[in-house]
């Protein structure tokens, strides 16, 4: 598999990172270099292997679904670049 310029532009859009047109080609080359190296994973027989999802052999804990914490509006919005009245402010989304 090899990434072309258009794919890099698509992935950059998915990642919400602006990549200048002139940087797409070099970025594609860099990513292909890494992905080419990763191809060797294909040599490993993983036919009957379950993908590892947890390091310790444990299940995620259950807990009661109840409100145990909260009421920190001021703390939560304190670091926002823009906001008022306990809300985050973003550029206009709906015309």
């Amino acid at each position: 598999m090899s990434l072309d310029k258009a794919t890099v532009a698509k992935v950059a859009n998915l990642a919400r990172i602006k990549v200048e047109e002139k940087d797409l080609e070099p970025m594609a080359a860099e990513l292909n270099n890494i992905l080419g190296w990763v191809e060797q994973l294909g040599e490993v027989d993983t036919a009957d292997v379950e993908p590892m999802t947890s390091v310790a052999e444990m299940r995620l804990r259950w807990r009661a679904d109840e409100v145990t914490d909260g009421g920190y509006v001021e703390d939560i919005v304190a670091n926002a670049p823009s906001g008022e009245d306990g809300y985050f402010a973003v550029p206009k989304v709906i015309e």
């Binding site: 990172i17 970025m27 990513l31 270099n33 990763v38 490993v44 590892m52 999802t53 550029p91």
Partner: protein, 492 residues
Amino acid sequence: MSDLTKLTIAEARAGLEKGDFSSRELTAAHITAMTASKPLNAYITETPEQAVEAATDSDTRRAKGEAGKLDGIPLAIKDLFCTKGVLTTAASHILDGFTPHYESTVTANLWNAGAVMLGKVNLDEFAMGSSNETSYYGNVVNPWRREGDESALVPGGSSGGSASAVASFSAMGATGTDTGGSIRQPASFTGIVGMKPTYGRCSRWGVVAFASSLDQPGPMARTVRDTAIMLEAMAGFDPKDSTSVNMPVPNFEAAMTGDIKGLKIGIPKEYRLDGMSEEIDTLWQQGIDWLKAAGAEIVDISLPHTKYALPAYYIIAPAEASSNLARYDGVRYGLRVEGKDLNEMYANTRAEGFGAEVKRRLLIGTYALSAGYYDAYYLKAQKVRARIAEDFKQAYLNVDVILTPTAPSAAFGFGEKGDDPLEMYLNDVFTVPASLAGLPGISVPAGLSTEGLPLGLQLLGKPFDEETVFRAAGVLEEAAAFTATPTDWWRG
């Protein structure tokens, strides 16, 4: 009074207990050392006023007989741990001005044990790097230099500021985090001890996330005992971290009995790389001989999937990072770069806020998780990871710990491995497999390279058997008798 910064944590603890000096005196000595260490760029944020205040409180507690296990000990905190009221950057432009309103569990545990914070230390941006060259706040410099050569060397990464601060005696110990070797490799590069506990031993709550299935906080200090003392304070079950493990925290220091008679030490043949430098090989053999002389039994083992660990890691870690770092959107904290609409604001903010290496990994990760490629990359890598973990499981049927070199080389110069990311990734070839398997590992300084630079050996243990790792590491440390320190050129 002799230089208090040269004490180990264990020695300082004894001195404080006996009343030889106060925490205020101990802390003041370290603040002076921290200020003098500026040329190393180890600290991003210094907090001397808070340190003096905390030291004063510690002395008061001690006078009342209420001293905790780390009471009055000045430490540096990797700037990946959220600290209430103190700037937390992850060494990224995108977190500009972020001042958490909460404290990470690990640092809260340290303060509960009485420790004193000197400041927040530098790292690779979002802990992505092996040389501390990706920080928005500039490179960290290794206090060590090659013999007869004044060129600056990298401290390793990502916990490079932690390593540099501890090795330069401007902190008694430091917290680090290890995702693929970020505690152990810089410890090796700077001649100190770095311990990555079993995944789940220390809470990740309040630690800026990189790759959640791999990230694990741990201690860095100048002796094995000091890391054992620190880990005991840092570790513990935390309901706020869903993968925190509910197990009692042993007395790690007590595990260092000095006796490893009959302990089975595995030597994995796959770690003997083609083209590995001879001095690394010699050091490894030396380590084998030391442990054998102390009564351990040396067992040759095989970890057949070792060579696939790095490529699996460089899918899994970026994939998880691409998900974790989605939160940096210019809305809730940090940098915002305006755009004509919301999407453009996101894209502009993230383009300006993230550095080149972080962007590279986010794009790889996004691609690996994107529709049509998920199975080929992420799922495949997670299956290979299961194979790697199984290798270790099989090996541990026959051995108690595994001995390997920590890194394939000593510290290198700035820009020496800049052109090809793959060359940089190879730094972690010996540390990544245990990260994927979640195992505890420690790097112990074991010798000097022909150029006079420190080299570490790594001991890996069974899950949640840090005690045996500390026991073997204590013996290795004693046999190696590594007492070299860098000349303090940075004091000018």
